[in-house]
């Protein structure tokens, strides 16, 4: 994570761009002089602040900063990488570049095929800043702790027995330079405020929980500015680009209590109405991961697994991933999303592309050394490393379900459902290593009978198969209902790296999905 610092250290702007350019050039020149055919340099300053509370106590405040450089080269057709902490001199940069070239040359002896890098034009000296309105690192820690304590108090006042709340804040200050002639300075911000409320029935010894309906966002502290236009009302309030944490905790405490006496679901087939606060995770697991090209090719076989979405299915041009209503889009541009940047971690300008169009599998997620495998001339721009000390590799861009083209509200969608369950918020999740069979829980489950919500359910999880599930999608609400969810800590690789990614959707309906009852006695 980096060294622990005082919050004031976050206000230090870090090294000037001119200094970074000088350092980067030292590495690029050294790499070339040692025989590298390509080199890139990432100078990264990573700031993290975590504020952790329970009930009326601040349990911990963690402030960390990590600064260093990663140099990646191609020499003798093979990748090599070296990293240095707290870089200060050009000599250190040159040494890192030389180490990377030496590793590349050593690895080249075991190489089967030389790296084929998709061409990329240089962009000169450019920059990108997340369009935040309020830098969370400039907000005093006390203000954040006080907000969380007030959230906890609201939960306790509304029937919670226990409440934990946390605020995660991240700022990545990244400088990228390559032998292609790019010098890219970027400033990325992320925020994720969460809580977990527990309600206990002392008579039965049973407990239930309700987690926050917030989303991790590529935003500043402005995500916590309450604005009525960001609220989606209905059976419970959900949030768009602004989160009312106090309101959600108040509702959450009442709902955790309500869950204690909710009806236990009867297992069987139901039509599911899935809210964006829930559906993001199903998209992430059953669309985002299986369409990572490195998984498809077998590079993740020993850990995360491979993929059912094999190249022959894509080549057939008629693999029906989902129904005609299903359009799944990869997007590294989406404002406020976790994946949005100007350029990826190998200097490729970001873009938006189709993965599944009208239900048919049309593309994957590929980076520069993979583009040729799927016959593309350029990278998709979705390469990422979680630190200056990690090697960049293919990571999931934002992958989202496009909103329905026909006007449709959630209320209208529910009206047509005879026997269904409306699921809000993400819960337990599990999927096999080729991404066929999955099981998902949730936070709130409402029973739908003959077009009406009739009450709360509990002990609900649904099981399906990716292709079957997406082909059972019969309706997607229009763009008025479109919201982002996402993962703040998505793991991949060995050693594991973490990345943050958003998934947007409008509420969608899936017919005849298998629901199980998860209640047990011990």
């Amino acid at each position: 994570m980096g060294r622990i610092v005082s919050p004031e250290a976050f206000l230090n702007p870090g090294d000037d761009v001119a200094v970074k350019k000088r350092l980067a050039d030292a590495a690029l020149n050294a790499a070339k002089s040692k025989g590298a055919s390509y080199a890139d340099v990432r100078i990264g300053r990573y700031l993290n602040q975590f504020v952790i509370t329970r009930e009326d106590k601040v349990q911990n405040i963690v402030n960390t900063e990590s600064y260093g450089v990663g140099v990646r080269v191609i020499a003798n057709g093979c990748w090599g990488f070296a990293a240095v902490v707290d870089v200060k001199s050009e000599a250190q940069m040159a040494k890192a570049a030389e180490d990377a070239v030496a590793i590349a040359k050593a690895n080249a002896k075991l190489m089967k095929e030389p790296v084929q890098l998709a061409p990329q034009k240089g962009f000169g000296e450019v920059s990108w800043k997340a369009p935040i309105k309020k830098n969370a690192f400039e907000v005093p820690v006390k203000e954040k702790a006080d907000l969380l304590l007030s959230v906890n108090a609201a939960a306790m006042a509304n029937g919670a027995n226990y409440v934990n709340s946390v605020m995660f804040l991240v700022n990545e200050q990244k400088y990228f330079a390559s032998t292609d002639g790019s010098y890219i300075d970027q400033d990325v911000h992320r925020i994720w405020p969460i809580f977990n409320i527990t309600a206990i029935d002392p008579k039965t010894g049973k407990f239930e929980t309700r987690n926050a309906l917030s989303a991790p966002m590529g935003m500043g502290y402005d995500y916590l500015q309450v604005n009525p236009k960001d609220k989606v009302t209905g059976v419970t309030t959900r949030y768009n680009m602004g989160y009312d944490m106090l309101e959600d905790a108040t509702a959450g405490a009442k709902q955790a209590k309500e869950k204690l006496t909710a009806k236990s679901v009867e297992a069987g087939k139901y039509d599911l109405i899935l809210d964006p606060s829930h559906l993001w995770l199903t998209i992430h697991e059953s669309v985002g991961h299986p369409l990572e090209l490195d998984r498809v090719l077998g590079y993740e076989a020993n850990f995360a697994g491979t993929s059912f979405a094999t190249l022959d299915k894509w080549q057939s041009k008629n693999f029906q991933y989902g129904s005609k209503q299903v359009n799944l889009v990869a997007d590294k541009l989406q404002v406020g999303s976790l994946g949005a940047v100007g350029w990826d971690d190998e200097g490729v300008n970001t873009k938006k592309w189709d993965l599944v169009k009208d239900g048919v599998l049309v593309n994957y997620q590929a980076i520069r050394d993979q583009a040729h495998i799927i016959g593309e001339k350029e990278s998709h721009g979705c390469c990422y490393a979680d630190s200056w000390s990690s090697v960049q590799f293919q990571r999931m861009p934002n992958v989202s379900l496009a909103a329905g083209k026909t006007p449709l509200s959630v209320d209208d969608m529910i009206k047509d459902v005879k026997k269904g369950i409306y699921i809000i918020g993400d819960g337990s999740f599990s999927i096999d290593q080729q991404r066929y069979n999955f099981q998902f829980g949730g936070q709130l489950f409402y029973e739908i009978k003959d077009g009406k919500i009739v009450g709360m359910l509990k002990d609900v999880a649904y099981q399906s198969n990716t292709q079957e599930f997406w082909n059972s999608c019969v309706q997607v609400c229009d763009d008025k209902d479109y919201r982002l969810g996402g993962s703040f800590f998505d793991g991949k690789g060995q050693p594991s790296q973490s990345s943050a990614v958003s998934h947007g959707s409008s509420t969608a309906r899936f017919n005849g999905v298998n629901v199980i009852n998860t209640a047990r006695k011990i």
């Binding site: 060294r3 622990i4 610092v5 005082s6 106590k57 601040v58 405040i61 990748w79 990488f81 990293a83 902490v85 707290d86 590793i103 050593a106 690895n107 075991l110 190489m111 089967k112 702790a145 027995n161 226990y162 206990i200 002392p202 008579k203 039965t204 010894g205 049973k206 407990f207 077998g298 590079y299 993740e300 076989a301 020993n302 850990f303 697994g305 059912f308 000390s389 090697v391 337990s428 599990s430 999927i431 096999d432 290593q433 080729q434 991404r435 066929y436 069979n437 099981q439 829980g441 002990d459 999880a461 099981q463 060995q494 050693p495 298998n514 199980i516 998860t518 209640a519 047990r520 011990i522």
Partner: protein, 438 residues
Amino acid sequence: MAILSKEEAKKIIDKVLALSTADEISVGLSGDRSGNIRYARNSVSTSGETTDLSLSVTSVFGKKSGTATINEFDDASLEKTVRRAEEIAKLAPDNPEYMPMLGPQQFLETKSFAESTAAINPDFRAQAAFNSIDPCIKKNLTAAGFLQDSAGFSAMGNNKGLFGYNRATSVDFSITVRTADGTGSGYVARDYNDASKLDTKSATEVAMQKALASVNTKALEPGKYTVILEPTAGVDLLQNMMRSMDARNADEGRSFLGKKGGGTRLGEKLFDERVTIYSDPMNLEIPGSPFSGDGRPQEKVTWIEKGVVKNMYYSRFWAQKQGVKATPPPSGFIFEGGNESLADLIKGTEKGILVTRFWYIRAVDPQTLLYTGLTRDGTFYIENGQIKYPVKNFRFNESPVIMLNNVEAIGKPVRASGNLIPPLKIRDFTFTSLSDAV
């Protein structure tokens, strides 16, 4: 040098302690050299080595504490770090659950360091990968594996007189072998403190056998089956259960060990009487650290004895509040077993399913410790004591608490992910759906 001797570490820690102006100060000093090699599609994809040495200072005024870390060791940097920790402490809110630092402690001398592991270099890793990839290439199979090793030390000291020092090594290896057409897959994982015990070739050969034996699967109906869980399959569920034995959560009523009407299930028989689980940092197969992160000594603790919950682990704050001994959570668990091998358990099974590995295990209900997940990389049907044919993978929904009430047989424990876990034969294990994944 990333691995300091006890004397070198103590000298630095004492120097830092002397710089303190706070009520209390504790210093942690640790360093390691770690390396890894990763391969896939029968070719090395990444490899690397890093060394790290870092010092962490926690200063306390009253109930306010602050921490600062540094990886430079000149006098000025040490002084700066102590002052920084003190500044952060002064600005911090009071922690009402703060516990004063511990005084001198007696620590066991555990055998957690092996020279063979400390001596690992890039050539060793490349050879280990070659020994795993080469047999796969010769049989037209595809290997994907990962080896990581670490050798390091950790030391801690405070101004109440506590000092602890320990050296530890570890090596972890895992290999997935797939048939060229992707219809068969096998997996093996090994972990040791002592790298001289690691043989990547023989481990890979087991994964190869499983890959070849797992093609042409038959689909069985989901339902309740007698299963034999290899230690690699059983370890995650058992470890998840043992990590849920925090006393505070139980006292607060939000744990499987919470009791109706309040209190905990300490002393209750929750499992089959053949179930005994303990921890022991002196165990030579899984030697642990002699101290926990906050300086409490690690010692032998029996957690479950003949099915009865005997101990739960406590934070120091919660133990003081409850007036009990503050037993820390251990690093690894030892599940007592018998002498039967995995092969013996298979031989003694009329009808059942052999599970190599579980995957993507996630909690479904913390109240009952219900977990879901899937079988992976080698699932086989057993009939009349013999493996008959490979079966399609299943999704399960099962609680380790229920599982340990349905024990048919317990084999001889072997090391798995830092624990000693026997192969387990369990009846009525709940599979809820089929997966097409290989």
